[in-house]
């Protein structure tokens, strides 16, 4: 094994080990040292992530055999453009959400039982859970083993549920519902894995790609359904709004920005990998139709919400719909444009949506609530927050300059090439609906009137974190070519796009 490969593998390992290490340290540390462990994790994990992304960029795809066993018996990791793009996005989002959380989340102090205030909820073991979430996300993106992916999914589900459960009664109920949905989804997925393993005796995704056939349709159906539960595709979105809206803001950012993307990523991985040879055109059409329905339903619901965080959460339901359009637009022997465009859209939505939730966190911090009716004129005391909100909103609208614009351009271009006119209309119609709900927040915030009384001053790191994410979502527009080039590393979509990268 050559030198550079070892370096690349080392960074991959560290980007999974360091968050788990930081989480464990934060768990073991006392109250004083917990924040030190958190800061260590917040500094070290992004560094490892960045180094891993950079080495992938420099050296190409890396296949890492854990413990040197190698598939089929051992577990392999695969770091190609697709997985590392999501690892990188995760690093950026969780770093900034973490900075927000340093100020906005309170650790329970001596024997305190109640759950803090809405503005600054008390979350027991926040940092351990946060870093476990981070580590399981990275592990999930890297893993190339169907069963290992199941374990990652469960870890992710547990840390998410524990993080969202502690912010009051609604949050607890939402977390329980999420936990059951998550378990249900995982078990459906695992049943599919059992069928695959039974038929082919291997769990490695690349090995499966070589042997999968039409007889695996049952596994495809089970695994896809399970992941749809977790990705909250309409009409399986019922658990999402309450869960994402009631969690503390940094957790909402991670959940809406990343956790739902993780199961979506896995779906893409499966459809572009093992299941690529299967006749999936009809299933893809179903996913596309549900995606279109999600865009309309989620947007209309967002227009009707009375709370800011509920509005943002329903917007997630709508935006997830866009991601699923890539299946009909990219299938069966479709268009690379649709696949890369869809993934790019997922990344830009991750940045924008987490920015929006962090903004909502700043608003809740300042005002103590997020009732839209009582937030008139809020832009005057919180100009930075609302500016960040507006920038992130631009991405949801799909208007240039923003990542959403390039993503939609690619999806519509694929739709036009394939003659899918209905999808082209839905994509831009959804943009107009998004304008409706984004400006439902922005417009009243610009009203000239006395700002709501008794506002608390928002610490600048919280606003800076939100603004940075929003700016990143806009700058993504100008990084489109490098990102598309990065996505091509290891040719993750070769099997569905006829061999071309």
């Amino acid at each position: 094994m050559s030198g550079p490969d070892v370096a690349a593998e080392a960074w991959l390992v560290w980007s999974v080990v360091v968050p788990f290490l930081a989480g464990s340290l934060a768990f073991l540390a006392g109250r004083r040292l917990r924040i030190a462990a958190a800061l260590f994790g917040l500094a070290a994990t992004p560094i490892c992530t960045a180094a891993a992304v950079y080495t992938t960029h420099r050296l190409g795809p890396v296949r890492y055999r854990i413990g040197g066993w190698g598939a089929p018996l051992g577990i392999d990791w695969l770091a190609d453009g697709l997985s590392m793009l999501l690892v990188g996005t995760t690093g950026l989002v969780l770093l900034l959400a973490g900075i927000h959380a340093v100020r906005s989340i309170r650790a329970p102090s001596g024997g305190e039982q109640k759950s803090g205030t809405d503005a600054q909820p008390t979350i027991a073991y926040f940092w351990p859970l946060y870093f476990f979430l981070w580590g399981s996300l990275n592990a999930l993106f890297l893993s190339n083993d169907a069963f290992n992916l199941y374990v990652c999914l469960e870890l992710l589900g547990f840390s998410s549920a524990a993080l969202m459960a502690q912010a009051g009664r609604e949050a607890l109920t939402a977390a329980i519902r999420y936990l059951f949905v998550s378990l249900l989804g995982s078990l459906l997925y695992l049943l599919g894995v059992a069928l695959l393993f039974g038929a082919h005796g291997t769990l490695d995704l690349q090995a499966l790609r070589a042997v999968a056939s039409s007889s695996d349709l049952a596994a495809l159906a089970l695994m896809t359904t399970g992941l749809l539960f977790k990705t909250a595709l309409f009409p399986l979105h019922f658990w999402l709004p309450a869960a994402h809206a009631n969690a503390p803001a940094p957790v909402s950012a991670a959940l809406s920005g990343l956790v739902v993307k993780a199961s979506f990523y896995l779906l893409v991985r499966l459809w572009a990998g093992p299941f690529a040879p299967l006749p999936t055109a009809d299933a893809a059409a179903v996913l596309g139709t549900l995606g279109a329905a999600a865009i309309v339903w989620g947007s209309v619901q967002a227009l009707r919400q009375r709370r800011l965080k509920m509005l943002i959460a329903y917007s997630t339901v709508a935006q997830l719909g866009y991601l699923f359009l890539l299946f009909p637009l990219g299938a069966p022997h479709g268009n690379l444009e649709a696949w890369t465009g869809g993934l790019y859209y997922a990344v830009s939505h991750a940045l924008a949506k987490s920015a929006l939730f962090l903004c909502a966190g700043c608003v809740v911090w300042a005002a103590g609530h997020d009732r839209l009716a009582d937030l008139k004129g809020i832009a005057r005391p919180l100009p930075v927050t609302m500016f960040a909100f507006a920038l992130a909103g631009v991405t949801l609208l799909g208007i240039p300059p923003s990542g959403g614009f390039v993503g939609k351009w690619n999806l519509v271009s694929a739709a036009v090439r394939g003659g899918h006119w209905a999808y082209a209309v839905i994509i831009y119609g959804g943009g107009l609906l998004a304008a409706g709900y984004v400006f439902r927040v922005l417009a009243p915030s610009l009203l000239f009137q006395k700002s709501p009384a008794g506002l608390r001053k928002v610490p600048w790191p919280m606003e800076a974190a939100a603004l940075t994410l929003a700016i990143a979502a806009v700058l993504l527009d100008f990084l489109a070519d490098p990102i598309f080039a990065f996505l091509a590393i290891g040719r993750p979509f070769a099997a569905v796009t006829g061999g071309l990268p």
Partner: protein, 110 residues
């Protein structure tokens, strides 16, 4: 000659358990029942996992890789159960009941 061989018997049983568990998970609002149902579901999956590989790795014997996976799965299931029970205790402590509240009742405060 039995109608089903050992592997098939496990497989069918697993499928039945999975379906029963799925029904129970969706049907019941009592949290403990839900937790039990999920566990039944999990057991069904584990049986299928062992059954589909029965005799495939080593003739006439279960596949050790599948067994290892089931062991891992059990660990995950135990953690999930523990977590769900912890949540249930919290719900019971705050509401005095161990039911999952109605979707309507948990609509956010206006």
């Amino acid at each position: 000659m039995p109608v089903l061989d050992t592997g098939q018997l496990y497989g069918v049983t697993g499928a039945i358990l999975f379906s029963l568990g799925l029904y129970g998970t969706l049907r019941h609002r009592h949290l403990i029942r839900k937790i039990l149902a999920v566990n039944v579901m999990g057991t069904g999956v584990f049986l299928v996992l062992v059954a589909t590989r029965y005799g495939r790795g080593v003739p006439g014997a279960p596949d050790p890789v599948a067994q290892a996976m089931v062991l891992t799965g059990i660990v995950v299931a135990v953690s999930a159960t523990a977590m769900a029970i912890a949540f249930t205790l919290r719900v019971h402590a705050t509401t005095g009941s161990a039911h999952l509240p109605d979707a309507d009742a948990e609509e956010p405060r206006p």
